[in-house]
Symmetry: C2
Subunit: 323 residues, 2 copies
């Protein structure tokens, strides 16, 4: 953390995003790349990504002729979900009932796409620094015909832990963190937020339900309301840390679905990962480069230091407090 | 590749780095953070990183009280190697004999630190976009008391392939790519450069010796001269791709060393990975974010398309051609 920094400084954020821009394809009433016109939506709005990375009818690469050259078809669908009709808000600036509507939409799309696909990845890239190509508040949903790499690793670890210890890994993990306390950021009736023991990003967090819940659609109305409220608190702390609209990538992981949804997935515990890049200020980020790419991730501050800093931050947004 | 881009555009590169800046701690004659004065070096210059991430005497975290909370001491040393006394050059702008001197210095530092440590990671973060905190041409060398994650995975894969097929994985892989041709970028008497079948970064490459070589110090003088020349060609193509000083992280992987250097490591083949972030232009990069962090890497162009574009580029640097 003491290293001199002559490296990249992030460009200042767009401070003024217009509330409505008829040329922004995510806005209500705008015309998208495929010619469709968006409805004048008032809450969330889900539609097919006009530039999908996964397609339902992707061709098969055919049989391989060599053990080192193995390829398989990757099929799926990509959707975009707008969180709000306005371009100039973000989740921490939205009302708790508006965030609750996003959670309900996440649960529905998981159910809908999970009927056909084994993995439904909901993720939000927030901020230009995280490759987000449009400032309107939104997330993406990519459903695939296969378990992606990270899902496979989580499946293996959780299955192995359950078979060895007789309970879900993340249930025991959450319980331990509640006892140890030094990595906790927020707790509520139904949820925990903590900087995980294994965190690699400076202010990475894990969001966990207290109850054993395998997938988003299983959440009760009370758990959803409580989730909306703890998300607002976490994201407010994030924004307050460097008094900026805090960039991150986040996403949900839950038990696989599709044709094997009915199998025993009790070793899975629903959770969300938040991966934010900022390290020292609104313009100096952590770079996962040389040593990290070629050898192993390394941190610039401990998870306990990060948790302590996040705990100490106010739960009122710096932009709302000023009013 | 057709997606509209309203996202982050990288700040333009520093176009004028002064050849010598007495306040830059990497320059000859400059005073470093610890008070030492650099010699007036004329070739490469190796010194201890003043802000080391690994230290030889790191304390042990003590025994763990729980299977989910396992920690181990990470010991090692971090060095910095300047490639050249001037701040305003990069490897592709250096002369072949100057690059050869860098290769010799890489081989020596591997031998020196490998006498004590099982893993010696040489890596270069080039460009501010890749977290490089100083524009002076340099790389880093981090030696560790343990095999880092990526080294462990390469050890497992190469060992498994050798025991199943009776020859080193990367020897067979290189031979196959020479036959298939569509992912080759450059070939020389002793070396191959290709966009690997498994590439995730748009213009990622793998640099492989043709002969079975386990570690840098084993390279013959002829192989080192040829390496200097193929590196200059590859890095010139990279700079020519978007007419910019092409950012990347690169590093060398070879057989483990330290106290077990004498064991059988014949399944290892020396190689270098180049991970460059640029995708569409000098200012629009690939972001490894949401889906990539939470699910699986996905590419925006095929390895064959990337190799074809790199093959077609001239081997004379755009800045030297203009003269
Ligand atoms: O050592 P530097 O150049 O200050 O730091 C750079 O390389 C390190 C090793 O890859 C990274 O951990 C840092 O995030 C990066 O900024
Ligand atoms: O889909 P977008 O917002 O155009 O693209 C963004 O998210 C994708 C999924 O994480 C990444 O592959 C892209 O690199 C990133 O820019």
């Amino acid at each position: 953390m003491k290293r001199p920094w002559q490296g990249q400084v992030e460009p200042p954020l767009l401070t003024t995003v217009p509330r409505h821009d008829p040329h922004n394809p995510l806005c209500p009433g705008a015309t998208r790349a495929n010619g469709e016109v968006n409805p004048h939506y008032e809450g969330t709005f889900l539609f097919d990504n006009d530039f999908p990375a996964l397609q339902p009818d992707a061709p098969s690469p055919g049989p391989s002729d060599h053990p080192l050259f193995q390829a398989e078809a990757a099929r799926g669908v990509c959707k975009v979900m707008c969180f709000h009709p306005w371009s100039d808000v973000t989740l921490p600036l939205m009302l708790v009932p508006e965030i609750r509507a996003v959670i309900d939409a996440w649960a529905s799309v998981t159910e809908e796409l999970g009927a056909q696909y084994p993995w439904v990845q909901i993720f939000e890239n927030k901020g230009a620094m995280m490759g987000c190509s449009n400032p309107h508040p939104h997330c993406q949903v990519w459903a695939s015909s296969f378990l992606p790499d990270v899902a496979q690793r989580e499946e293996r670890s959780q299955r192995a832990y359950q078979s060895q210890h007789g309970e879900p890994l993340l249930m025991e993990y959450g319980r331990q963190e509640l006892l140890r306390k030094d990595r906790l950021v927020l707790t509520s009736e139904h949820w925990l937020v903590l900087v995980p023991f294994w965190a690699v990003w400076p202010f990475q967090t894990l969001l966990l339900p207290r109850r054993h819940v395998r997938r988003l659609p299983e959440l009760t109305p009370a758990e959803r309301d409580d989730l909306a409220s703890i998300m607002k608190k976490l994201l407010t702390k994030y924004d307050n840390l460097f008094e900026t609209s805090f960039p991150y990538s986040m996403g949900w992981h839950g038990a696989p679905m599709g044709s094997e949804a009915g199998a025993n997935w009790d070793h899975w515990q629903l959770h969300a990962h938040y991966y934010p890049p900022l390290l020292r200020s609104a313009t100096v980020r952590k770079f996962m480069v040389g040593y990290e790419m070629l050898a192993q991730a390394q941190r610039d501050l401990t998870p306990e230091q990060a948790a302590e800093r996040l705990r100490a931050l106010p739960e009122v947004h710096y932009r709302l407090g000023q009013k």
